[in-house]
Symmetry: C2
Subunit: 319 residues, 2 copies
């Protein structure tokens, strides 16, 4: 049996089974956007994400500043998805020896630009030789404590009766990826959504502050990420297609496919939150559906018909 | 200019210059074995290390259990080198889709075996598709506080008058690598030193407890690692070759080269400590030299003559 036979999520489930034996201080182990530990009266939140040349970016002719930004931003987004505040990063560079030093300088300019925006300092890392460029960042941050209890956005926090809400707009990143392939420049607004994601730290913290306790970032695709929440929470969900905040530029660029791209495209790095409707009222989010008892996820159009897409989202080993 | 022109340490220095702007809570930034932050009254220590197929291990026909052990152990050793206690790991697997799931199961058995020995729980990570297998672990742990001040083993902590001391024996790992290449089995004691390193957590913590404040793990090679300490501390060092605890098995296997391999071989994952002689007295270490004012590192034989080796140790981009 090969990794491609069980897919990314089959593999993750398998690894979770083999290693979930939490120590007393581990608050959140494998299977959420980030891991969380207690350190005295505080919470440490940590996550890691990797980008591989030829899979997640194209090194040849690349804008390394953009790659540096994105490497840090996707990790910051995982901290946002826990309702945490990022602080520091460890950066690992696996590089062919012939890599231009100027490319790495630019990579770090992008990393530091993103770090400056989100208050993250590069505190260390590792550099090794490799036949292919692989870039990894691990980001550490703080989680909220309320009344001496962890106050986090967990995938397992959804309850029947919750509304489902998202920040910002969806599908722009998938549109940008397609426009990039068609030769669009990096100042195209859709392309910019793809190469310079803006993680939702403030929104995640605001969610925690008003009592929301369930969240995930939209990295694999709306339906797939909501599916992760449903599975972890043991619930189902209904999403109303005509309430989804599809990117306006995407509607213009790809009118026939905009909804599907918003539902399955991924890499928008918006937050998906679930919680009581009254708690959502003060947050900058759009309500798109509700959590129900049972299991499974239904996407419903304006006439109440179910919409089905063949591809739900990203799987590292199958896409 | 390419990465191979400036080498691993030139690149690290360059990156340190570009990103060393510590936040208030960052106690140790880039350039030591691990990064350290304050979290309230506690210290969080974090490090990351990567292994690339074809560079740090050979995936084909590999014993994945051993690779899993080593992946975690080399990170645990960085925590030991700060005098800390490891707690949790994030593990990133970059895998070709055709990777056998059984190999990953075995990798995790080795990881968890090492984790069990050192009290480390795998708390999360990332899995991505890649044309080449790249394995990364980030390990988090706790650092010591004494009288509300960080009590760490720092590369910058060496002072003229300190003695230089090491735990265990040196060169065994380099000997094991050579024996592996010659077809030796994994139960050969030298091979075992290479594939199943035993980080010195207890020794590092004992060092901190008796007031030692300078340490590094011997990963690149004794002379090179001591060179890192000298550079970070702004001091020089003298090492007496005939006091170096060369591995007994290595002396038997490679009598003519044993000393050189002990000095430059690397991957022994012993600790090198410097501190006042009286503080070292209670520790399970061998004194091999002393720290002096000035700069540079001299290796002296029994007749007071300087020994010079062409190769000082490992450089990721030049070796």
């Amino acid at each position: 049996m090969r990794v491609s036979d069980i897919g990314e999520f089959g593999l993750i489930e398998r690894l979770m089974g083999s290693s979930r034996k939490g120590s007393g201080d581990l608050v959140v182990g494998p299977g959420d956007d980030a891991a969380v530990w207690r350190a005295g009266e505080e919470l440490v939140v940590a996550t890691t994400d990797t980008m591989v040349d030829g899979v997640h970016f194209r090194g040849e002719g690349a804008n390394w500043r953009d790659i540096g930004w994105k490497l840090l931003a996707v990790n910051v987004s995982d901290i946002a998805a826990m309702g945490g505040a990022p602080e520091s990063a460890l950066v690992t560079l696996c590089l062919p020896p012939e890599t231009e030093v100027a490319a790495i300088d630019e990579l770090y300019e992008g990393l530091n630009e993103c770090g400056h925006k989100y208050g993250v300092t590069v505190a260390g890392g590792d550099v090794v030789r490799s036949p292919v460029t692989v870039l990894t960042a691990a980001v550490l941050g703080r989680g909220e404590m309320r009344d001496r209890e962890p106050a986090l956005l967990l995938r397992s926090g959804a309850r029947p009766g919750d509304v489902v809400a998202v920040t910002g707009t969806l599908g722009g990143s998938a549109g940008g990826l397609r426009r990039l392939a068609a030769g669009a420049a990096s100042d195209d607004p859709l392309v910019r959504r793809h190469i310079r994601p803006l993680p939702r730290i403030m929104e995640g913290r605001a969610g925690v502050a008003v009592g929301v306790r369930c969240g995930i970032d939209v990295s694999d695709g709306l339906l797939q990420d909501l599916g992760h929440v449903c599975e972890a929470s043991g619930v189902g969900a209904i999403v109303h297609a005509d309430t989804i905040p599809v990117s306006g530029e995407l509607r213009v660029a790809y009118p026939d496919e905009a909804l599907e791209m918003a539902c399955t495209g991924g890499e928008d790095y918006e937050l998906l939150l679930t919680g009581q409707r009254k708690r959502m009222a003060g947050l900058p989010v759009t309500v798109i559906g509700e959590i129900v008892a049972g299991s499974g996820l239904q996407l419903i159009d304006g006439e109440g018909r179910e919409i089905q897409y063949e591809r739900k989202g990203w799987d590292a080993f199958r896409s």
